[in-house]
Amino acid sequence: MFLRNLGLLINATMTYTPPLLLAALGSCFSERSGVINIGIEGMMTIGAFVGASMALTCGNPWIAFLVGGLAGALFGLLHAIACVSCQADQTISGTAINFLAPGLAVFMSKAIYDGSSDTPAIDISMKLPKVFDGIFPVGSFWNNVLSNYSVAYLSLILVAVIWFVFYKTKFGMRLRAVGEAPEACDTLGINVYRIRYICVILSGFLSGLGGAYITLATVNQFRPIIVVGQGFMAIAAVIFGKFKPQGALLACLLFGFCNGVKVLATSSNAVSPNLISMIPYIVTILALVLFVGTARVPAANGKPFQKAK
């Protein structure tokens, strides 16, 4: 019994971590390059809608997943135009995107699906596939532990890839440098604007993927409140993980675990679901209070950079 419950918990963690993790990896890019992106929540929402809508139109979950990411990237571009080219207040631009993107998602849903703010449910065959499905008997420990959505594994691999990019490539070194001392980088001939553009658009793309995962795997339908603060939790995970991809992974696993506990505990109906729903948010705060101590924020984070003329 214990083993079975443990298996279920691991399964729930693996199911609820990927959207957080993808968005958090995106946030890593943006924050390390010196641009605060609190529009991630909105970018996830538009990704979730476009993902669901594409799956309904074209029937291929992987295309839908990618297009969901592109929709997020589009808003990443918007954020970059405001924050990098126009030196806007990054928090305000992010807030604008949190109005625009979800508004647009629901607007399009109503325009396309006869005034309904929810999309129709996606057929199971159009959902993102699971790997190791059917190898172990249903309900067994190993089935619970290993039979996860392919994107869950993909996002784990992505952490390693992004770690490599951050610390072992020239681009990674530059993007970290741009977030610390853009003026110095500029003097050395590094194109600060271009690196920041790439990073912010990437953060939108990864957030969009995270949102699309929600509609294409866990929920199989778009609803206006589908993201419920996960974008912000992803930002928390990045701060908690000290702005490192590997740190963000650990934080996301913790939050994903909390989300999993929430879903499992809500279905058992023992405690008020509303109280259980608070757990991830309270854990986030506690995690920040107890463990983070002094997270060193990239020095140029949030400061607009204007190239000297």
Partner: protein, 371 residues
């Protein structure tokens, strides 16, 4: 003579170019244009939708009254955000403070049996305390542990959201009827206009909660511009290090500012409850009064009096938006318009720089010509 007149119009022109109002108005115009394009793309007549918006707000006196009733809580959350901006803090947690404020006012409004003259202030005070406390926790985390307030505010928004949903289902507070809501607050706690002849003109929804909002705006304007506290708060917002060098304890000022900011948002919740809602219903999504407050603060250029007008604008848009379904236009277009407006306000300084430098060049050219 003509020369001096020229100069005065010129300086008026540059004044307009240097102020924020022009750019806010341009941003609002752009917001409506973007909205219109989207509506047309979606196959909905923008003319019909905007026409409905206008007649929906100004068509009858009671519509205007409704818009004002809608505006009151948003003015207060807007003031809350604007006040925090003045001290260099971004109160994105007005949403949560609003929710706990509503909850506190609801508890006092349902359980206390006192005459209206005491009941209404008590509800407002309870809401202000709850909102202030909710925000102060975040402030303490920021000041003592250096935790980014934007983040903890957002977490506290969600905690407040589920707290409210939990409270709605507590048997003592839950309505005896079937709906997923609390009991109605006592009549003595309602801020409704009960005079029948006035109701005939203004409709049955007429409330005087706008008075609380206007009073709060005036008080906040006074604090910011005429008191030592306001001076200190603005000094911290302008340059924290310089303020500390000048002997201001910036941590204490931030605590004070965030608490006051939270109290304002909490009062916004009370205004909504006592002037419009009368009960708290189970949330299925965030009510967004706090986020709307951010828009109001930005449109009002973080000026308390500006927030009144910006709030009235938002209230009208929100009330008018509820009628858009009559012409089959999604009410989300309001969010899109508002998002576009914030976006353009965020980048407006680019236009400002552009226009100012052009005006400067023109001036130089003009002077050169007369010489």
């Amino acid at each position: 003579m003509s020369n001096t007149k020229d100069k005065s119009t010129n300086s008026f022109g540059t004044k307009v170019l240097q102020g924020n109002l022009l750019y806010t108005l341009i941003s609002i115009a752009v917001g409506f244009i973007v909205g219109a394009i989207l509506l047309q793309v979606a196959g909905i007549s923008a003319g019909a939708a905007y026409g409905k918006l206008i007649t929906g707000v100004f068509g009858k006196p009671k519509f205007i009254v409704w818009s004002i009733v809608y505006a009151s809580p948003i003015i207060l959350t807007g003031l809350s955000v604007a006040f925090s901006f003045q001290t260099g803090v971004f109160n994105i947690g007005a949403e949560g403070q609003y929710v706990v404020g509503t909850l506190a006012a609801c508890v006092v409004g349902v359980f206390l049996k006192v005459p209206a003259i005491i009941h209404i202030p008590l509800c407002l005070i309870a809401a202000a305390l709850a909102g202030g406390l909710w925000s102060m926790i975040v402030a303490v985390l920021k000041v003592k542990r250096g935790i980014n307030e934007v983040l903890s505010f957002i977490m506290f928004n969600w905690i407040a959201y589920y707290l409210s949903n939990y409270a709605v289902n507590i048997p003592a507070l839950h309505t005896d009827g079937n709906s997923e809501a609390t009991k109605d607050i006592m009549d003595t706690a309602k801020m409704m206009i009960t005079n029948e002849s006035l109701q005939e003109v203004m409709g049955s929804g007429a409330s005087y909660n706008i008075l609380v909002a206007i009073l709060a705006a005036v008080v906040i304007a006074f604090i910011l511009n005429r008191t030592t506290l306001g001076y200190k708060l603005k000094a911290v917002g302008f340059n924290r290090h310089a303020a500390e060098y000048g002997g201001i304890n910036s941590n204490r000022e931030i605590l004070t500012a965030m608490s006051i900011s939270g109290a304002l948002a909490g009062m916004g919740g009370a205004c909504q409850l006592m002037g419009m809602g009368m009960r708290i219903s189970q949330f299925s999504a965030q009510e967004s009064f706090g986020f709307q407050g951010i828009t109001v603060a930005l449109i009002g250029s973080t000026n308390p009096i500006g927030c009144i007008f910006a709030g009235l604008f938002y209230g009208a848009m929100k009330y008018g938006g509820t009628k858009l379904s009559l012409v089959n236009a999604p009410s989300e277009i309001v969010n899109i318009i508002m998002g576009t407006i914030i976006f353009f306000i965020a980048i407006s300084h680019v236009f400002k720089r552009l226009l100012l430098s052009r005006a400067g060049k023109k001036e130089a050219k003009g002077e050169g010509g007369t010489k």
